[in-house]
């Protein structure tokens, strides 16, 4: 059902964990529909993401997309991290089954939520970044996919 890359990132997830006093942290999804992602960012003074960690409650695809998303933003600038879309995460994983596409949306949202937190804390604006709908969002619950 899953590609080899998805299985690899699910069975050996990269960057699992927490960061103490993170530059930014975001949690999205909700337990009711079965997926929660939390992203921790450590961003230096040049707006480079030095480190990133995640924790995810969810299915194989949710874990794999979290893992891949962290890999894609690590070492990148904040602006570059904004370009890590759900499409990019999916492509990097060689695709997801159609019913799992919403998991990749969650990964993008989790990164944006963490960046928003970072921007708020530092009083800066990140181009193209909007306030996440809620920290633990309910909005995609009824989404058809």
């Amino acid at each position: 059902m899953y590609t080899e890359k998805v299985m690899d990132h699910f069975e050996h997830p990269r960057n699992v964990g927490e960061i103490e006093n993170p530059s930014g942290m975001g949690t999205v999804g909700n337990a009711k529909c079965g997926d929660i992602m939390r992203i921790y960012l450590d961003i230096d003074e040049n707006q480079i993401i030095r480190d990133v960690k995640f924790k995810t409650f969810g299915c194989g695809a949710a874990v794999a997309t979290s893992s891949m998303a962290t890999e894609l933003v690590k070492g990148k600038s904040v602006q570059e991290a904004m370009k890590v879309t759900n499409q990019a995460v999916m492509e990097a994983l060689d695709g997801l089954p159609p019913v799992k596409v919403h998991c990749s949306l969650l990964a993008e949202e989790a990164i944006h939520a963490a960046l928003w937190d970072y921007a708020q804390k530092n009083g800066i604006e990140i181009e193209g970044l909007e306030q996440p709908k809620s920290d633990i969002s309910e909005h995609d619950e009824d989404e058809e996919y």
Partner: protein, 394 residues
């Protein structure tokens, strides 16, 4: 091939070699159509009749009351739709429960779109139908009560005799979906006041593609498949002779072994449940602890999601199933787990393991050790667990 530990016998079972062997001649040697006139078809005709008699005998019915179908789902569809059709003049109300298999629930939804009214009974926290509520819901227009014998997910066994008595008192037909119970629990249709009953071959080490509907003599039920005169003109279509023979053989083997098998599976299942409950914190057993199918275990592990657990178990060669949304392709977890009152996030972390007599204690030890390791790994990755632990520390 890696070693497989198969713990999904509620999904399907291994066809017994004796069953497969009994079926083979009806493919290549006695392939005649039972409806044909010539002598060559006699062995096929006889074999179907013998299977019918074995199965009838196994539930205290008469051979003429057993109608072979393509599967348990067909039997459920037939029982509901044809009863609705035949008894429409008497009324348009059906009573069932919230924890039925989709073969019943989706058929009820279909009937609701066609002018029928359906009451879905609640269950208690163990998954048992509330008899008082059943009595209250009966209307003059109620034509059918359909309650499953035992639940496919949590294994809970329903008070079938009591339901049958209530139905009988009110002159209402009683159907039971016994797909999970037939061959695993003793069933006597007269003693339990069952008017119709569905069962399936592949749940009792028989072949896939065959089931039956028991219809008590006198029940006005119309044919579901129209065509030839097979199955006393009530279920047209050339008989699945090898499948029926296999089903008969499987029933013949299952019935005398039932008690011993239940004891064997029950002991192993209790060992599995006890070890898991003792060794993995924040875990619950879904369904009644004792009043359940002897081979069924169903757990909910807090803070983790079931599909992840299943995939990890699969990589160790362990086959199980889950009521998590991700395994159903919808956003909602199992309707059964929600009906027994589990919150969504806990229902997502469910695991069903259904044993067979072929499983061993060594396998159970390996399974428990694997689950322990996997659950801890997934919890370490879970933001819910992180939040919970931080709260505990405070």
């Amino acid at each position: 091939m890696k070693k497989i530990i198969y713990l999904d016998n509620a999904a399907t079972t291994r066809t017994r070699p004796e069953v497969a062997e009994a079926m083979l001649p009806y493919f290549t040697e006695f392939y005649g159509n039972p409806s044909s006139v010539y002598d060559f078809s006699t062995p096929a005709k006889k074999a179907v009749q013998e299977a019918r008699e074995i199965i009838a005998g196994s539930i205290g019915a008469q051979a003429r009351e057993i109608y072979f179908t393509g599967c348990g789902t067909e039997a459920d569809n037939w029982a509901l739709k044809a009863t609705a059709d035949a008894y429409r003049e008497k009324g348009n109300h059906i009573i069932t429960s919230k924890i039925e298999h989709h073969a019943i629930l989706h058929t009820c939804e279909y009937l609701e779109k066609h002018g029928f009214e359906v009451t879905y009974l609640d269950v208690d926290e163990n998954g048992v139908v509330k008899l008082e509520q059943l009595k209250k819901m009966i209307r003059p227009t109620t034509i059918l009560i359909s309650i499953m014998f035992a639940n496919n997910e949590i294994g809970t066994i329903q008070p079938i005799r009591e339901i049958g008595e209530i139905a009988r008192e009110h002159d209402i037909l009683f159907h039971t979906d016994a797909v999970q119970a037939y061959g695993h629990l003793p069933i006597d249709v007269d003693a339990l006041h069952i008017d119709m009953m569905s069962a399936s071959g592949h749940k009792i080490n028989g072949p896939k593609g065959v089931g039956f509907l028991y219809i008590r003599t006198g029940v006005k039920i119309r044919s579901f498949m129209h065509g030839g005169a097979q199955e006393r003109k009530r279920r047209a279509g050339t008989e699945n002779v090898p499948g029926i023979v296999g089903f008969g053989k499987a029933a013949q083997l299952a019935m005398p072994a039932m008690e011993e098998r239940a004891r064997c599976e029950g002991e192993l299942r209790d060992y599995l449940m006890d070890r898991i409950m003792e060794e993995i914190p924040y875990t619950r057993i879904n369904g009644d602890r004792t009043n359940r199918l002897p081979n069924n275990a169903n757990f909910a592990f807090q803070f983790i999601e079931g599909e992840s657990l299943l995939i990890m178990l699969d990589s160790k060669g362990i086959c199980g199933s889950s009521g998590s949304a991700c395994t159903s392709g919808s956003l909602d977890p199992s309707h059964v787990l929600l009906a027994i009152g589990l919150p969504h996030e806990i229902a997502h972390g469910s695991l069903r393991l259904t044993l067979s007599e072929e499983n061993t204690k060594e396998e159970m030890d390996f399974v428990v050790d694997s689950i322990k390791e996997i659950v801890q790994g997934l919890r370490n990755m879970s933001p819910l667990y992180e939040d919970f632990m931080k709260k505990q520390e405070r």
